[in-house]
Amino acid sequence: MRAVLVGLGAVGTRVAEALAASDAVESLVVIHRDPRRVAPMLRGLGPHVEVRLGGAGDMPRGDVTVLAAPGGMLRSAEAALAGGSHVVCVADDPAEVRGLLGLDSMARARGRTVVAAAAMAPGLSCVLAAHLRAGFDRIEEVHVASAGTGGPACARRHHAALAALATDWEDGEWRRRAGGSGRELVWFPEPVGGADCYRAALADPLLLVPAFPGCRRVASRLAATRRDRVTSWLPMLRPPHPEGLVGAVRVEVRGWVGGRAETKILGVAVAPAVAAGAVAAQAAQWATAGRFARPGAAGLAELVTTPGAFLRELAEAGITVAAFQGGHLEL
């Protein structure tokens, strides 16, 4: 396959490495605003990798386009789709994800897939939720929590999300509540452990609600420190780190199994940029191999029909899933 990658930050670099190492990739064109600066970084990835200056207006043709640059994702996705490419977006801003989901009819008409969010949360969170779905007769609630940030764009997004309105799904309707509210202690896989999590402007519910029809509640929370909450309404007081430390994602599904209420929990502890890079690269390969459920724009919970296989392939990239077992949450 011919792959195009836009953006070469903390996530984009991981996507480039994963795609360049794949036997299925014949060529990889990386679009960057400063090709001369990033060319040395890409030299070690092989002769089939090249970097070009470009933008949404002159997107090169490829079988799949991975968008890993912050901002302008909708325009780039439209341009790539118009060129006949599958599109994988590392998006986490709810407004951006909503716009990408709006490309559904365009993508269906062209027989192409737009993966609206292939990061850690949303992205890996959606695959974990889809994997848990199989164990239930009926699902009542899905709760997602995530901790940590990838590159600087992700850290800025984390900061903004805490100050904006959170949108959760409750009893068949969207409820908007203040970001930074609803504190809940969430226990992530080690080494992250316990972290206070809060409502924030997150995109997981937008992607999970269509994948779990009839589900009564879908909510997403974000781990934050007290300083994060207090300063969320201010501009960032200092520039973000080039990349955050290890983070985690945890998905809790509540429902009914054989007439009994049950709760199942899966989680992954990993650096968010590593998870996002692996999920996006794998989604790109699944899109071109026709392994998704249907053409159109959706999240991975809808598109991945064999989440176990997706997670097994991710495990080969070092992303190991853990299950919380034996706790007081098992009813």
Binding site: H131, R183, E184, L185, V186, W187, P189, E190, G194, D196, C197, R226, R229, V230, L266, G267, G308, A309, L311, R312, A315, T320, V321, A322, A323, F324, Q325, G326, G327, H328, L329, E330
Partner: protein, 45 residues
């Protein structure tokens, strides 16, 4: 003037108390039993 001063003091006290309430405490208790177990590939079917 006196009423204004009292209003400002009341507002200030409210802000301080709200800030303390917002920042202190934790969002719950950690699980008392159970723990995380890594799933081997064959359990992901």
């Amino acid at each position: 003037m006196k009423a204004l001063r009292r209003t400002l003091i009341a507002l200030g006290v409210t802000v301080v108390i709200a800030g303390i309430v917002r920042l202190r405490g934790s969002g719950g208790t950690p699980p008392q039993r159970g723990g995380w177990r890594e799933l081997p590939a064959d359990e992901l079917d």
